[in-house]
Symmetry: C2
Subunit: 506 residues, 2 copies
């Protein structure tokens, strides 16, 4: 009775989705990079129209027909291997929308908007109590949705983790994060007790934006970002937004008194951009072009920011260039002083301002709290105390108010529960890629000589070209020969910080 | 049998059209202001998708149902007066699309794209012969379409004129343009024979973009452009693009050696922007918000550029500011020297570089040639000779090649036949508005004192607020009390140039 379908039908629908996503991505970019302040209402109206259209395409008759037809193994096997993979991705993505009653979906979207307003108001008043009832409702609604998506093997929180990375579970993360906590604990103790803390005051000397840009722009180009297929703009909260592989746009903010912010910020965003620019063209107009898991995307921004951007050999080559462009500003700072100051680490309260060594602990804290909420039904009134307790335990610092504590991230106000772990995984993946790459390339020599092309090629071949067609764990396994092992990250950081702080951890 | 419809059905369809137009407008703006150079193909694909969607909305079942239902007077009379006007506009616009067989429409669109490539290639080779076969085909197809739209009273060329301004005819234009030719002829002869040609070399002194911007930005704001509902970007060919009344974006190019270009260019684009920003909000999401006739829109950009931007009293107030911001650049140039140089006129070959006095003649030449093509079946092989002949007659200059002659405009490659007259009408309307305004306001005193607000208010009340809800001739009649009379323009120019060139025309 059902009409016979072909791969073309699948591609037609995927293409319409991709075109609408590209369109909405441009609208978002525009909104964050200089859209006139008073045109917000008009923009919201246009976005609502496109979102409605996107939902119609995604859950409409054609989508349902594809789902019904190709979930039968006999039909699915008529598709090419690539198209089978695309169908599986399509049917995975669609379940987060199609199983939810339309009224619930709309109510949830509306609640998120109100919750974000409440979060902003709570931040302004520095009062968690304002946000609390909304957080409670968001958690309640999320808990109602979980059973619609849950499989037998999943804990409730696993379902949320799986939204951002298929197959990720609390079991896996518990084991990984425990290793990280242990390894970091020993290192931090040693740094604090016996380390020589470097001075980094020179990082706050005044450097005008124009000079910073003159260093950064050609550098991220040498690192692999293609300005013919991307552009750079100013914004308040830096991000990369790709429309398609020939249009990946990066943004940054600037401070005259903190050039490190823009340097590492743009290394980071350029890393995202390079990934987007180098996905195989065969995935154009499919979810494998843009639907890349956050953890693997983040591993590439962090490869630029941390693996390269905190590497001694890299700065040995780059520092004279930086000094030269900055005029007299750093004339009295030797390379050793520069690199040591650049690497200074200290535990802080705010995740987004954390250095790479302490960053994963901020994530682990959030992970453990989210797990307690969804798997152990922790009450939201207990959150602030738990937050303080965990910061004291893991970082040795305690927030004195809500803004520097529980209210610092927007993620929960957007119901993005399960998203945080991606950030930490990005750090770990990046280090493991580095380890594998170093078996084929002499990374230090290449960085020291300024020859970045082999690193770019390795990353394109082993990571970028696949886009979202492979899962993060598949990419990791193929590129490095083993599953995720946090010791590569711990070893790299230990080696770097032992040298800078002149200590030795047993 | 037909379902009963309401004004809401009409508005729903108009809103979807408006949202898609807004969306495509943003894509165009982006394409011209910094889209990465290699993303053209992706952008073309997205535009094609949206155009297809737009056509589907515009000519689909709902549109046809609205057309059938409301063309019956009994049904139409159930609509509010505003909605009746909107329906009439809708049914007028739709006939240019719905009467054309879909295949012809697509073939025509494809031909235009190829013709534009051929035009660019012809310009590069400076050879009309490359473009000629495409122009021939464009004219041929246009001639085939004309009968689909033609009414009994219209000549073929009237149909094309009516696309850009309802009710415009060769009969009207012949009479107006004859007056302009005669009046201008006498003035130009006198200037050439007895005038003192001012020196304007100082206009080519070096002024960096930053300084130019420091003068221009606050000035166009004082003239009425709202930067909270617009923005300014760099581009190759300046334009204004409005997404909606709260988002009107202007663009310019810059030359260190020609600050007049950016000053008058941005006065011009700001004039378009001010119009867009001040349409009554009741026309949001309707064709009356954005579908403004080019002639009336141009009258407002030219009001800024010519009526204000070439006014002696205005510069009397502004010149000290300009001098001050430009540092020493103009320190040795007195106000009189500045203004006389600013006003220098001379006949040239290129329309877009013409001064306001000679500009209408460039348009009249094109108008007469287009009329000959469509009403008298002039052959395209005769065009270059006719072009040269008319330039010799009207401007006393003759192009030596195709690039400075027949190939200079892109309009014909886009089949925009009938569009050129709008530019000249804009000049004439602007002067007539000035005349009427001057009966209520002492324009010279206001400009001389820097009090531009009363001029802004007058234009908002008499012109801008109506958007496209009134025809240009209606707006002109209501605002000035009489139909178009080119003598106001001729009188204004005569007065200005007699003073600058120290002559007296009888």
């Amino acid at each position: 009775m059902a009409k016979q379908l072909t791969g073309d039908d699948l591609h037609e629908l995927l293409k319409e989705q991709a075109l609408l996503e590209e369109n909405m991505a441009l609208l978002s970019w525009d909104q964050l990079t200089g859209m006139p302040v008073k045109s917000g209402e008009f923009r919201a109206e246009l976005m609502a129209y496109l979102t409605k259209r996107y939902l119609k395409v995604t859950t409409g008759k054609k989508a349902k027909a594809l789902l019904d037809y190709y979930q039968l193994p006999n039909n699915q096997s008529t598709l090419s291997i690539d198209d089978q993979a695309l169908f599986q991705r399509f049917s995975h993505d669609i379940k987060y929308v199609i199983n939810v009653p339309a009224d619930d979906y709309i109510a949830f979207e509306r609640l998120k908007i109100m919750a974000q307003d409440a979060w902003a108001a709570a931040r302004e008043k520095n009062d968690y109590a304002i946000f609390k009832p909304y957080l409670e409702k968001l958690i309640h609604m999320t808990k109602q949705l979980i059973p619609l998506w849950q499989t037998d093997e999943q804990t409730p929180y696993d379902v949320l983790l799986g939204q951002y990375e298929q197959g990720l579970t609390t079991k896996k993360l518990d084991s990984i994060f425990n290793q990280v906590k242990q390894g970091l604990g020993a290192l931090q103790q040693e740094l604090q007790l016996n380390g020589e803390t470097p001075d980094n005051q020179f990082l706050h000397r005044s450097v005008p934006k124009g000079l910073q840009l003159r260093y950064i722009q050609p550098t991220i180009q040498r690192l692999g970002f293609d300005f013919e297929r991307g552009r750079l703009d100013d914004t308040v909260h830096p991000f990369m937004q790709d429309m398609n592989r020939n249009d990946a746009r990066i943004t940054t903010r600037w401070s005259d008194r903190d050039f490190k912010m823009a340097v590492l910020g743009l290394f980071h965003e350029a890393g995202h951009g390079m990934f987007a620019q180098n996905v195989d063209s065969k995935w154009d107009y499919t979810p494998f072009n843009k639907g890349i898991a956050m953890s693997i995307h983040e591993s590439q921004s962090l490869f630029n920011e941390v693996i390269i951007g905190q590497d001694e050999a890299f700065w040995y080559h780059e520092y004279p260039k930086l000094q030269d462009i900055f005029g007299d500003v750093l004339a009295d700072i030797s390379f050793e002083q520069f690199y040591d100051g650049w690497m200074k680490t200290e535990p802080t309260l705010i995740r987004t301002e954390a250095d790479p060594l302490t960053y994963p602990l901020h994530i682990i804290i959030r992970y453990e709290i989210e797990k307690a909420i969804f798997n152990d039904d922790l009450d939201v009134s207990e959150l602030p105390a738990l937050w303080r307790e965990k910061y004291r335990t893991y970082l040795g610092v305690v927030p004195e108010d809500d803004v520097t504590g529980i209210l610092q991230d927007i993620h929960w106000a957007d119901a993005s529960f399960g998203y945080f772990p991606s950030y930490a995984l990005g750090h770990l993946y990046a280090a493991q890629f580095r380890y594998a790459m170093n078996k084929e390339l002499d990374i230090s020599s290449l960085l020291q000589s300024g020859d970045y092309q082999p690193l770019i090629d390795w990353r394109r071949n082993h990571i970028w070209q696949y886009g979202a067609s492979k899962s993060p764990s598949d990419i990791l396994l193929t590129a490095t020969g083993e599953p995720l092992n946090p010791n590569y990250w711990l070893d790299l950081q230990r080696k770097r910080y032992e040298k800078v702080y002149q200590v030795k951890v047993d």
